[in-house]
């Protein structure tokens, strides 16, 4: 979790220069339960911050995944289509969802660092 940024809708972001990798947090996957499907966006499509870009379906529910930053999707983790369980087993590595070309780096300021996110989750859980 070190070095990752988090949104308050439980997505994580890893920044590498102007490229951001996005997935959902361990807490988010534990709340969803066993993931069975993921609907991924098209490569090349652009999204605004906080807009829905993917849908994750678990045995309990279907939920939307929101963009933590604005930008253009340059790569999607298409392997998730056949291995949706990676989102449960390895949310921070094999379970990444999209890579994004960041449009506005200043948007990262509204995201939480790992410590702040930990507190945020603790509050939400109780």
């Amino acid at each position: 979790m070190k070095g990752l940024l988090f949104s308050n809708s439980h997505e994580w972001v890893k920044i590498d220069h102007d490229i951001a990798t996005v997935g959902i947090s361990d807490y988010a996957q534990s709340q969803l339960g066993d993931v069975v499907f993921i609907e991924l966006p098209q490569e090349g499509s652009s999204f605004d911050k906080n807009s829905q870009f993917a849908t994750i379906e678990s045995t309990k529910t279907a939920s939307e995944v929101y963009m933590p930053l604005s930008g253009e999707v340059i790569k999607v983790n298409s392997e998730l289509t056949n291995n949706p369980q990676w989102i449960n087993n390895d949310p921070y590595d094999k379970g990444w969802i999209v890579k994004l070309k960041i449009k506005n780096i200043s948007e990262t300021e509204s995201l939480m660092k790992d410590d702040a996110y930990k507190d945020f989750v603790e509050k939400e859980a109780h």
Binding site: Q31, G33, D34, V36, F37, E57, T59, K60, T61, P84, Q85
Partner: protein, 576 residues
Amino acid sequence: MDDYDIKEPLEDRLQKIRLEEEHIKEQRRILQLQENSIKEERQELVSEQEMLDQVMEEFKKKELLLKDREKELSLRQGLLDKRSKQAQSFKDREDFRLIFEKSRDLHQAHYIDRPEVPSKDPNDFFAKNLLRSSLPIPTLGELQVVRHFSLLSERNFSVDSNFYPLGSCTMKYNPKINDELSDLSGFIDIHPLQCQQDVQGALQVIFNLEQLLCRITGLKRFSMQPSSGAQGELCGMLMIKKFHQISGKKKNTVIIPDSAHGTNPATAAMCGFKIQIVKSNSKGLVDLDYLNSLVSEDTAAMMLTNPNTLGLFEENITEIAEIIHKKGGFLYYDGANLNPLMGFTNPGLMGFDVAHFNLHKTFSTPHGCGGPGAGVIGVGEKLIDFLPVPLVGKKENIFYFDYSPCNSIGRLRSFYGNFSILVRAYAYILRLGERGLARAASNSVLNANYIKEKLKKTFDLPYDKTCMHEVVFSCSRQRERGASALDIAKRLIDYGIHPPTMYFPLIVKEALMIEPTETESKQTLDYFIKSLEKIDREIDQDLQNIKDSPHTSWVKRVDEVKAARFPDLRCKIIGD
């Protein structure tokens, strides 16, 4: 020589020595004898030892043989187990065979005699492409058919056999008189294409039912077309869309609470609307400030159920209606939760403009597993012109199909809805009457609150206030001890109780949503409460047993991931 007296005469001394010699000889002889006997005994011992050795050897041999036989036996046992398992699974598979599969190895069954009048070749009347050469329908003897369906019915989990507290589904008892009346010859021996003079009775039922529904709901007109709640929603939202289109207003968003039934956002999305979610406040009700911040000229409608899915009455419903109406939006009522309101208040009074009602829930017709249902749609003045046609009208005591709504969204399905469900609902309403319906409503509220009070020590109650017809608990504490809402729900099956609705509404973690309905006795409610308390204790005593449950049902615990990702939906012949 001290022993001998030197003074003794020699003769005597000699005599003594002889005697002594004699004695020694005697002693020697005795010793010899003893030695001999020892030798004999030793000999005996040796031979005994030999015998023992022999026995030992035989024993060992026998032991080895026994071990071999044991091995063989356990192998045989294993084989037997395997075979009996195979037999069991074969039996299971046989029992679960589809009627199409069962008919395969039987001879053609003929129920209908060849006609006595001369028959004509269909080829003379119909185009070739309209005729088929074979019809693969099941061909079974009557006994096989009876057994097939009797076995299936034994496996059925229904309100008729067990308590069914499935939240938001209103699984109340369906009085048998409803079935009897809908089976009357005047209802079942007619055809939807018959001319309307011939089916006046059926039309009268639809007409009268509409009148009664208008009184119960406070709305102005009804179309009986929609076959389910979801189709009723679709119908309502299509009417709203068309209304805005005709009035030339661009209204693209629909507001929906975060506690809404999943069908609400799905329906709005299907109709091309953008969805805005309004959050619930700490009381579990629509947050008015939040709603005010969302609502705009773009608001086409708000979809709401009241009481909401937490079983709580939206106290601010008239304010909500005002907020939506001010912006020219419609208030849509999801009638799934009408049951506790009958006879006390109604959607019309609350300010709703359009609503669907699940006759199969509130007005007691058998439902579940896909119908047939009736999700009839009712409207206030503004939307009458948009209803699907035909409606049923009455002029000079003659009932007729009414195609007058000039902006009708058209048909939603063939003919006039699921007619036999309409008859059942009509029978139910007439039998209970106005006071009966109100008593049903108040008992449904009483039953839910009884369960709420009794179980709130054992389970977390996220919104602790008087509920309406259903109550939502959270299994968070139980999950910390190892058993999830799913585990607890599955274990209830072993106690002969249908699982409550789980993991819904989404705003309650580990939710169990319980709707007992008015038709259950206090004894049943007490048994249900005790069962849940017992399962709570079992978490600390035998958690694995809960995790492996249900143990008593035909189908055991299902692998939910596999079921979702690799569903086995195809009819295929098994046992080859």
